[in-house]
């Protein structure tokens, strides 16, 4: 297994959680979504990627998830060279990455417990371990009492916490969050961000795509600003002005 992993790793890139070199992404309609992106994110960093709608933020997340491949340039995540990655390796790669979306993307016909447990079943955890891990994770995100509820009976904040619990249950080294507060009120947004900060303190790299000015400016984290597919600023403890 170690040998296979090394095969995908570029040595100099393996020390970064995320490493993009001269990345371009053009969709089939010819419109460039990302232009010459160079970006390095260290393990354990908390990074905001901000910009107006259509600036390429979501394309970037989809590249990091290996849902899309770059038209040119190199993309390394967790040491994997995503351009050379074979289809059968993608599931293993994704198990090292947690992901949350603006629209939560929960399995609507399953309970909170089942949604979180599903991520553990995917990695073939024993049922006894699942029974121990899931309630513990639901406790961390403050949903212990809602374990038997269906997503449709939860508030937006609770649904996002469930998605977060599912993303974190397998202890990923990177968490990608695509507009995680986009559908939440300010109070719930703040709670989710506090949770993300706590997760980051435990060593997980957090990459949050957002255009929520208040949250970005309140947290004083690294901020990368995209405009028309290009990085226009990259600031440690930065801010965001629309």
């Amino acid at each position: 297994m170690a040998r296979n992993r090394r095969k995908d790793m570029g040595d100099k890139h393996s020390r970064y959680a995320v490493c993009l070199e001269n990345v371009n992404k053009q969709y089939e309609d010819g419109i460039p979504a990302l232009v010459d992106i160079n970006l390095k994110i260290n393990p354990g960093e908390f990074v905001f990627i901000v910009g107006e709608s259509g600036c390429g933020k979501s394309t970037l997340i989809r590249l990091l998830l290996r849902e899309l491949t770059a038209t040119s340039g190199k993309v390394y995540v967790n040491g994997y060279d995503l351009n050379k990655m074979k289809h059968r390796v993608i599931p293993k790669f994704r198990r090292g990455i947690g992901v949350v979306f603006q629209d939560f993307r929960l399995l609507k016909d399953r309970t909170v417990y089942e949604n979180v447990a599903f991520a553990q079943r995917v990695v073939q955890k024993k049922e006894s371990e699942i029974r121990k891990n899931v309630p513990s994770m639901l406790g961390i995100v403050g949903l212990a009492s809602k374990y038997n509820s269906k997503p449709t009976h939860l508030s937006g904040g609770e649904q996002q916490r469930t998605a977060l619990a599912r993303a974190l249950i397998n202890k990923p080294s990177i968490l990608l969050a695509d507009e995680p507060t986009g559908n939440l009120d300010p109070r719930n947004s703040e709670e989710i961000m506090t949770l993300l900060e706590k997760i980051n303190e435990n060593g997980t790299t957090i990459v949050v795509v957002t255009h929520d000015v208040q949250i970005v400016n309140a947290m004083h984290k690294r901020v990368i600003t995209l405009k028309q597919g290009t990085i226009v600023s990259d600031e440690i403890e930065g801010g965001y002005n629309k």
Binding site: L65, E67, H87, R88, P91, K92, F93, R94, R95, I97, V99, R105, L106, L107, D109, F118, A119, R121, V122, V123, Q124, K126, E127, R166, N170
Partner: protein, 297 residues
């Protein structure tokens, strides 16, 4: 795949059947309806074929021998005929037997004969495997030394051969069309049902589920639906056919010899596996390829 994953995916597949109630009902209805129509036509076709084949078996050629032909030579001719590929059965009717049979038909009119008037009418009754081969066999028989006369019925043979051919072509054509329509309708239902759940498939892929893990519950669900969907029309047809046979036997016993239907188990030993293979096969391949389309996430 370990045992835990196997039972999990099996359980999910079974749960899906109840969870997606409308998809299950729609798929079951489509599969059952298609296979019912297919099965009905299959039963009609094989029975028609059987009736014609039975009628064909009754068609025979009679050959008479030259006067005074020794018994050894007659036996030799009989052996030669029996060896022919067109022949299914050869029966020797002696002159005495021929007269005995004929005198029964004559009744009182046969009284008064002191000698056998059919002294030179010993013959072979030859039954064919396939009536369309009658002319070939007749050509051969007419050239066999020791055979005086060959009696045959061209009209019966030609009519039966023609009917048989029509039934064969129509059956193959109809079964082919019904099969194609069934495959199209059933696979469409499966495709639509699974495409409605593509968001679910996407979520599983984001979490890091392998293609196998994502696909298995859908494939299991569709195989079970395909199996049940094929068993329902088979059960209906089995009891319906059995009832029809008993009804014909009971009410139409006078046509029993003409309308010789195939016994229920003899038909279903072919129809049952064909229907189950279609149902399960379309369930498997339909779901397998439909899910594959949505796995490229």
């Amino acid at each position: 795949m370990n045992l835990r994953t196997f039972f999990y995916t099996l359980g999910q597949g079974i749960k899906n059947i109840f969870k997606n109630g409308w998809f299950t009902i729609a798929s079951l209805a489509t599969i059952s309806a298609c296979l019912f129509v297919f099965g009905t036509f299959f039963l009609v076709a094989v029975n028609l074929d059987h009736i014609v084949k039975t009628a064909e078996q009754g068609v025979s050629i009679t050959v008479f021998f030259d006067e005074g032909l020794p018994d050894e030579k007659i036996k030799e001719i009989g052996d030669l005929i029996a060896m022919r590929s067109e022949v299914s059965k050869v029966e020797f009717i002696s002159a005495d037997q021929a007269w005995e049979d004929f005198s029964k038909e004559l009744g009182e009119n046969a009284e008064g004969f002191t000698e056998n008037p059919l002294e030179n009418c010993a013959n072979y009754q030859i039954y064919l495997r396939d009536v369309s081969l009658q002319s070939r066999l007749v050509n051969y028989l007419e050239n066999v030394e020791g055979i005086r006369k060959v009696n045959k019925s061209d009209i019966t043979a030609n009519t039966l051969a023609g009917v048989n051919m029509i039934i064969a072509y129509v059956s193959i054509g109809m079964i082919g069309i019904l099969l194609a329509v069934s495959i199209f309708l059933i696979s469409n239902t499966v495709t639509i049902g699974i495409s409605m759940r593509q968001e679910e498939i996407k979520i599983m892929k984001y979490i890091g589920a392998t293609d196998f893990f994502v696909r298995s519950p859908y494939v299991i669900e569709c195989i079970i639906i395909g199996l049940v969907g094929s068993l329902i029309p088979l059960a209906v047809l089995f009891y319906g056919y059995n009832f029809a046979l008993e009804f014909i036997e009971d009410k139409f016993f006078f046509i029993r010899d003409i309308v010789a239907c195939i016994p229920v188990f003899d038909v279903f030993k072919y129809l049952a596996p064909i229907s189950i293979i279609i149902g399960v096969g379309i369930g498997f391949f339909g779901s397998f390829f439909t899910v594959r389309k949505h796995l490229k996430v």
